[in-house]
């Protein structure tokens, strides 16, 4: 048995695995989230075990099976959910937010939103259009220094409806370098960000995506109080923090310019942002 450790936000989760395919799968999913630092707290241990006869794998916590399936997109989603849960379950040194993040025109832009808000799709689109990818899912802001942010830089995780964005890239890429099936695709961001490096600067801007197919596209400023309310809805580890991290989240809202991006197509979203960032 071998060990694979995922490290993020001061926590680690270790996965025991028993095959080469499992190692390659875990490396695909977590390549950029393995850098441990002293002081990291081991939160949980999981196992990714092969059912060789069935060509399936079991994700287990101890003797409890959490999910089972082939090493595909859906199974990857289960692994992400489980690992992220355990990484953040007791995390108390920062604010974890559901958010995408990209670098556009040298500015770090956060794209917070709850599940289904469109942040992953918008993040993917921006990554294809002259922005550098940081994460499509999660950021962790240090409670001691809000300028210190960690990005959960997993591969881009696309639902079937968004895969056309990467049609050209996928057609020209070795099939072993990414994961694709009926449930979507998992695309290592390094296929797009060849010079990937975690940034040290704080975010310059927050954009709240608001996909509204019946509405005209619009980019409107959001006030600090409104932003604070919205960010509390994206706050993942609130219960671990004093007063649920409310003061810290509101301080972020107070100090970071924010806009709501209402869009009915990705082209509109991109055009609005392009025009705004040029100003």
């Amino acid at each position: 048995m071998n060990l694979f450790t995922v490290a993020f936000a001061g926590s680690t989760v270790t996965l025991l695995y028993d095959t080469k395919d499992a190692r390659e799968f875990l490396t695909l999913l977590f390549r950029d989230v393995t850098q441990q630092t002293s002081g990291d707290v081991q939160q949980h241990q999981l196992s990714l075990l092969a059912d060789k006869g069935l060509n399936e794998y079991r994700l287990q916590a101890g003797n409890t099976q959490l999910c089972r399936g082939r090493l595909g997109v859906r199974f990857a989603a289960h692994i992400y959910d489980t690992v992220i849960f355990h990484l953040l379950n007791r995390a108390e040194n920062g604010i974890a937010l559901h958010a995408g993040a990209v670098i556009c025109n040298d500015l770090i832009i956060l794209l917070p939103g709850q599940s289904g808000a469109g942040k992953s799709t918008l993040t993917s689109w921006l990554t294809c259009h002259n922005c550098s990818y940081l994460t499509d899912e999660l950021i962790f802001i240090s409670i001691h220094d809000p300028r210190e942010i960690k990005y959960f830089s997993r591969p881009l995780c696309l639902k079937p409806g968004s895969m056309h964005l990467f049609e050209e890239l996928l057609a020209s890429t070795q099939k072993d370098d990414f994961l694709m099936d009926l449930h979507g695709a998992v695309i290592p961001h390094r296929l797009l960000n060849r010079e990937f490096k975690e940034p040290q600067a704080p975010p310059a801007l927050i954009i709240m995506p608001d996909y509204a197919p019946e509405s005209d596209p619009e980019l409107e400023p959001i006030s600090g109080a409104r932003l604070g309310t919205l960010l509390m809805g994206c706050h993942v580890n609130a219960r671990n923090l004093v007063d649920h991290g409310f003061r810290e989240v509101l301080e972020i809202a107070r100090s970071t310019p924010a806009f709501r991006l209402r869009y009915n197509s990705l082209q509109d979203a991109s055009s609005l942002l392009d025009a705004f960032l040029q100003e």
């Binding site: 006030s223 600090g224 409104r226 604070g228 007063d243 409310f246 107070r254």
Partner: protein
Amino acid sequence: MSLLMDVNKIVELKKDYLIERIDGEITVYHPTLTTAVYLNETGALIWELCDGKRTILDIIEALSEQYPESRTQIETDVKTLITQLIERDIGELK
């Protein structure tokens, strides 16, 4: 809840909420309920008047004194906000 409410009732806010004021607006958060509410400038004014002693009518009258030309809008805004606070379980009518 409709806006047809007894304006002689008092709005009592639940305890243990947290608030932050930014540029004349307010974010209210209740940790136990994990509920966050945004109050724009008008909502912030109304919130400040919900002191557990004023009736809804008192609040409407107080704001109408400051903005006499907007009484109808004030009445709607006050009732809308109070409805929102009750629906979010941050306030109740006594």
